[in-house]
């Protein structure tokens, strides 16, 4: 069975993929449909949804178009989710690979280091990091990456430990391949599928983290994000439910879609392991 056929067998994963594609389309179309900055005040404030042509989702406390904010926010969420996950992989994969491949003291030290990061409450750490570095896309990405790499390191380490004494690795060693070649060319390619599955779930968590940070007022002040929209509407929830309702649905759908896709990838990449449902 082909990769996609196995993926598509999981109906939830297919739905997730469709939602995710729609959100990506939203992000791409944002600058075309709403070329103006989503921060611009375009109508009178507190316009309810469907009450005026061209303002499908109404306007916010400052008369900004909610639909425009929602579409521009899609771009920010996806970007931060993807970039911070990549940075987390760049930290976690090498650490895990070295710990698992060499073992011994190196492993002990690296694992204590990983445990240290796992003990610290991760959202509190992210808040502190962003607050000290000052909110910006860069600081948010760094903070999210710094709190989310430990599971990657642990996963990669476990994979390396189980693979490092396989015959093909011994053979590579015998023909004189260097450690770095064995790590990068022999073992790493065989650990990719669990890493990909974990990464897809990490993007979802990163999007949740970003939205929570910007909800607390730690978003980049120059970009419109879903979390910021909800945070700004928090105090007017009694007057204007739609301001926090729609961005929340957007976050929920994106995170849900990524989780479903992650499960589908797991089924498709590890066909033997996937459980009966």
């Amino acid at each position: 069975m082909s990769f996609f056929a196995r993926f598509a067998q999981n109906r939830g994963a297919l739905i997730g993929l469709i939602i995710l594609l729609l959100i990506i389309v939203m992000a791409i179309l944002a600058p075309l449909l709403f070329p103006e900055s989503p921060w611009r005040m375009v109508q009178r404030p507190f316009l309810p949804p469907l009450s005026q042509e061209g303002f499908l989702l109404g306007t916010d406390t400052m008369g900004r178009n909610v639909a425009a904010g929602l579409m521009h926010g899609a771009w920010v969420s996806l970007l931060i989710g993807l970039v911070s996950t990549s940075v987390a992989l760049l930290i976690g994969v090498p650490l895990g690979a070295i710990a698992g491949y060499y073992g011994g003291l190196v492993d002990d030290f690296l694992m204590r280091f990983t445990e240290f990061f796992q003990t610290i409450p991760n959202f509190a750490l992210a808040i502190v990091l962003v607050a000290i570095m000052q909110p910006s896309i860069t600081s948010i990405v760094l903070a999210i990456a710094l709190v989310s790499w430990p599971p990657v390191a642990r996963l990669v380490r476990a994979e390396f430990m189980s693979l490092r004494h396989r015959e093909y690795v011994e053979a590579a060693r015998l023909v004189g391949q260097t450690n770095s070649t064995i790590i990068l060319r022999q073992i790493l390619p065989n650990t990719l599928s669990p890493i990909i599955v974990l990464a897809s779930l990490m993007v979802a968590t990163a999007i949740l983290l970003e939205s929570a940070l910007s909800f607390l007022g730690l978003g980049d002040p120059n970009v419109m994000s879903w979390g910021y929209m909800i945070g700004a509407a928090r105090t007017v929830i009694r007057q204007a439910w739609w301001l926090s309702f729609f961005p929340g649905v957007a976050i929920l759908l994106t995170v849900l879609a990524l989780n479903l896709v992650g499960e589908g990838l797991d089924d498709a990449l590890n066909p033997k392991l996937s459980r009966e449902r």
């Binding site: 610290i120 509190a124 502190v128 939205s211 929830i237």
Partner: protein, 325 residues
């Protein structure tokens, strides 16, 4: 005594971790924007250089880095977290003042999520291939994917704004002057929304975990034996499968403690719950870095204590694990 040595080892490890966090905190404070002396001077309403220098001397900010680090670390060992720049009150007092509310909220949410999660998860495991089982898992996935702060806001909207059933803000009704049992009842009413909101996310995790764990346990030989003996499926489900499936859940519960802190920050912010999470939000808004880092350290300490506690419970629950950490 194996336990005594074990606890001692865990405590030693905890002390090392906390010490590292303190050092980490110290360097973060150094990186924080703004000169603390200038901020303090500004608060006092005077900003001339003379006064700033005086303050710098008084707080030891003119000393070399390692002296300052030593002072900071030894201060924290004596439970001296310094002063909140904005409020002028010792950070430790502020945290202690807010801690009971947080413990009440997270404790309630923890028990609630664990009980509901285990019930829902075992129901899902017993109905693996039925639509009702899939429905439970779908709901768990939705709760898992929903941002906590949004659930909090929406529950305020529904249960307090539209239906008017429950109070939306605070720990108790201000100015009502309740005492005794009436006060307990009042606090309980205020607790329902925040605790349920916070519990939903964790309930989703425990539901998924319980189901997986029970399906794994159901494959074991002793379950086949029990079935061959002719025991009722419901008895096997409860006494044989669930009991064995609970162990990994205890471990997981310990690991979730850190997440619980993050959830508390968001929930307390929305519900104006006067705990350390809300305090953290206030510190954030006022850019009160010393207070912020004090709370950060404190929350890490709480998580570590909770981890040691679950570790001990795990060992008590599973006598097969002895000593080896």
């Amino acid at each position: 005594m194996v336990y005594a040595r074990l606890i001692l080892m865990r405590l030693l490890k905890a002390v090392i971790v906390l010490l590292l966090i303190v050092i980490f905190n110290f360097f973060l404070i150094q990186m924080a924007p703004g000169d603390p002396a200038a901020i303090l001077a500004g608060e006092a309403g005077a900003a001339d250089q003379e006064f700033i220098n005086q303050l710098r001397e008084r707080f030891g900010l003119d000393q070399p880095m390692y002296v300052q680090l030593w002072r900071y670390v030894s201060g924290i060992v004596m439970l001296d977290f310094g002063y909140s720049y904005r409020l002028g009150v010792p950070v430790f007092d502020l945290i202690m003042d807010r801690l009971p509310a947080t413990l009440l909220l997270t404790g309630t949410a923890f028990v609630l999520s664990l009980v509901l999660g285990i019930v829902a998860g075992s129901m899902a495991a017993a109905r693996v291939k039925k639509p009702s089982g899939s429905l439970i898992m779908a709901l768990a996935l939705v709760f898992y994917a929903t941002p906590l702060f949004w659930v909090a806001l929406m529950s305020v909207l529904v249960f307090s704004v539209y239906l008017g059933w429950l109070p939306a803000y605070g720990l108790y009704t201000v100015g009502a002057g309740y005492t005794g049992f009436a006060l307990v009842l009042d606090i309980a009413q205020h607790l329902i929304l925040p605790a349920t909101t916070l519990a939903l996310f964790f309930m989703a995790i425990y539901t998924r975990m319980t189901r997986t764990s029970m399906l794994d346990a159901a494959q074991q030989d002793f379950v086949k034996t029990a079935r061959a003996k002719g025991l009722k499926p419901s008895v096997i489900q409860r006494r044989h499968i669930l009991r064995n499936a609970l162990l990994p859940i205890i471990t997981l519960a310990g690991l979730q403690a850190g997440q619980m802190v993050g959830g508390a920050i968001l929930t307390e912010t929305v519900f104006a719950w006067p705990g350390i999470g809300r305090l953290m939000f206030e510190a954030l808004q006022q850019r009160d870095y010393n207070l912020l880092l004090g709370i950060f350290f404190f929350s890490a300490a709480l998580v570590i204590v909770f981890n040691i506690f679950t570790d001990l419970v795990y060992r008590l629950a599973d006598p097969r694990i002895k000593g080896a950490s």
